[in-house]
Point group: C3
Chain length 155, copies 3
């Protein structure tokens, strides 16, 4: 057991684990928001999901797309496109031995930016709120990737 | 070599590696299922994919969406939305030094739930089969995230 | 600090970190390509993104799908479906202590295949360019998964 728990005793790695878990949980929350909008807007993608509304044409009309549902789904996909690289590059970054304060700065900005991005997408806030929050998270990931490549480069 | 192979000698980490590889392979299988349905249903997304059916209008009619193809694609996307958080949070969880039996319970339920989910989506089985298998995998990931945050929290 | 930086001193792990960072950055680049096509083709998904084009019907016409934008988005999703398993299975593989030359061969073929895949998708090149580059990356990931399961199997 000793060996595998040592990594988690390192403060940078603990900070990474904390913020990685937070943004992954935030991403998972999008599934619940999608389900909420699908149920309240009565807009489903699968015939078996509308079976409780009766058979035939009465249920078929709920097989439709809804603007609010599609908005949440775009937000969810955007999370996948951005949080997955953060998770991967962030893990490698945390293993590169950065300064704790620098690492915390990266992780905090990313988590804050993605939470802002979700609010900007779902409310929605006028642009460039969503664009800027997206760009902040993107820049943090690029910055960590630069550190990883300058420290570990082995082609 | 010594240092980097020690992690894989830990039983919890080996169990994580096994189940993570299984669910990632299961997710990759969805690409083949999509290709199978695209070919048998003759429903493609890109003009260059239909070139072997001839030129012009005769090939253009295969550029269409098909209900079965879209169903597999939704299943694939659902895998991405759920297996990615499991992979990430599960990795951090495995590094937190949980009991082997508790960890195995988490990993086994998740892998079983996602395999069931795929069958429920593709056959399709009547609801709530898909909903419950989705919820079981979701609950496992939340439970692991709780362990990670209670063990590693460093904000 | 000592413990957590040792992993990155291992040559196999450095090679993994390098190629994983490269393919994740390549995947992130797809966001910029999407934004470029959305702006040049004037094809947006959200009403708030078209606000700068004026109010009402004059802006509404830019809420549309465009063939080029959809092509980039399919390429981005395909990256998610393939680079995510590579990242996950590759990490476990790198921790299994493979030979450095074997590991480098896997990582290089995968990175090359995915870069080719992107060009094949975006230009687009005639098939089977895209199909073969996809298959090469897929085969590399399966090969690494086989190594992980044969080394770590603990069910």
């Amino acid at each position: 057991m000793a060996k595998s728990t040592q990594l988690i005793d390192n403060e940078v790695f603990r900070a990474y684990a904390t913020y990685a878990a937070i943004v992954l949980l935030k991403m998972m929350l999008m599934s619940l928001v999608t389900a909420y909008f699908r149920i309240t807007r009565k807009a489903f993608a699968n015939p078996e999901d509308t079976a409780s509304f009766g058979k035939g044409d009465s249920a078929k009309k709920f097989l439709r797309t809804d603007a609010d549902v599609e908005r949440v789904r775009r937000g969810h996909l955007n999370d996948l496109e951005n949080i997955v690289p953060f998770f991967g590059i962030g893990l490698l970054y945390a293993l590169c031995g950065p300064d704790l304060s620098t690492a915390l700065l990266h992780f905090r900005i990313f988590a804050g930016a993605r939470i802002l991005h979700t609010f900007a997408y779902l409310i929605p806030l006028p642009q460039p709120s969503r664009g800027l929050s997206w760009a902040a998270g993107y820049a943090v990931t690029i910055s960590m990737a630069y550190k990883v490549l300058s420290k570990a480069l082995y082609l």
